[in-house]
Amino acid sequence: MKKVAWALALFFTIPVTAMAGEDVVNTITSNKEAIDLLQGNLNYVWTLIAACLVFFMQAGFAMVESGFTRAKSAVNIMMKNLMDFSMGSIAFWAIGFGLMFGTSGTGWFGTDGFFLSGWEGPDGDQWVLAFWMFQCVFAATAATIVSGAVAERTKFSGYLIYSIVLCAFIYPVFGSWAWGSLLNGGGWLEGLGFIDFAGSTVVHSIGGWAALAGAIVSGPRLGKYGKNGEVRAIPGHNIPMAAIGVFILWLGWFGFNPGSTTTGDSSIAMIFVTTNLSAAAGAICAMFTSWIMFKKPDIGMSLNGALAGLVGITAGCANVSPSSAIIIGAISGVLVVLSVVTIDKMHIDDPVGAISVHGVCGAWGTLAAGLFNMGGTNVKIITTQLIGIGAAFVWAFGAAFILFKVIDMTIGLRISKEDEMMGVDITEHGAHAYNDFQTLN
């Protein structure tokens, strides 16, 4: 007991004597410097925690996509999600980050900062690393959206090439137009006053329109449409897994939207609330829409509805009120169900609804960010939003369509009929997702 008391006494006296030794005079300037340093550190911590949450969305996407497709394709979906993040990280490090955030003379793309050359070493400013990490998980989110839309019927090697090109080129070029000035760049679209706080257009529409191109070029799965054009269902093999995937994505969005402040301050509270309310309204409205249209509250549509609400609020999460967020989410929820049904009728086979959730609701969310702007709205704001939506479609759909066509003509995009019936897991990876279980269908 005596020893402990001595240790405690020693412990408390050392700092006191040390401080007494220094002649510290706190001035207003030194206090401000200390506060700024603390705020700067908080920004690092918040941005990197948010990056973790956005990274976790990869798990959500993997689960939603494999849950909504057949058991014979689950290995392939997991591999695609693992590899688009891994390959995408390297591609974004080498090329994408520089194109997106490097110095831009023209407003069309950045020209420096490749291979993270903006980093000044361990003794210099570290912000570029934190910022890169946060932007890297965003690039991978855009890439992984396509994986579900082309599921069960495409070559793995073709997908790898796609994910490199998207993260190195397609996503960063558009990103530089809208977000370049967040670091060293500056794009023509943000110059017009385009509002897209966390990426309804920059991330989700870009991924969604690339998914549309991929689904069109690869064509529908065997048996998806009958001889007379009737739409056939190909039920997913694990709905509980898809549902948990949606919960994980919802959680991840609390990094995606509030994290886009890259600042640890009180503004993140409202963004949390708008994000959550929109997702809730999206799920509810998608459920009622499916209930009215199909006589039953459909689980797949309701899950898509939650995601639709999240995508829809992503652009305006920082500049619309919580009550506007409910309206934005509610409309997203209705829109996603109508869009899934319409796209199916157009014979574009999107097993997970990625085009509707990310492309269509991303476009709606971007328009809504202008319509419900708390600072007021006018024709100029709406026009700018529409220009951004249009530019995203033309660029992402156009570039991805050419990319998928080139892949199709060179190494091939679609697997053979026999391989598709056997399942991509066995033919592309030589593996089963569920050993010891017989997989029908």
Binding site: G236, D298, D344, G353
Partner: protein
Amino acid sequence: MKKIEAIIKPFKLDDLKEGLGELGITGMTISEVKGFGRQKGHTEIYRGAEYVVDFIPKIKMETVVKDDMVDIVIDKILSSVNTGSIGDGKIFVIPIERICRIRTGETDNDAI
């Protein structure tokens, strides 16, 4: 010796097991099977598109009894699993040539 094979609705398995237990039947084998009869499957909805499930999940129960038990067992099955609705299933009776209990080597009626 006869084998009684009954294809029934899965949720009726407990009723069947209990009913046959009351008759002193000491063993049975069940399997999860899929099939269709006059019912011809049913339709389900997935993400807005209707589809037909051709092969509906059923339970197949097999048990072997002495000849004089056959009618009693059939009556018991009927009374315990009948719901009166389509898809209740069928009972098949099949003659058995020989039985052998592996542990003791007992044969035929002694081995039931």
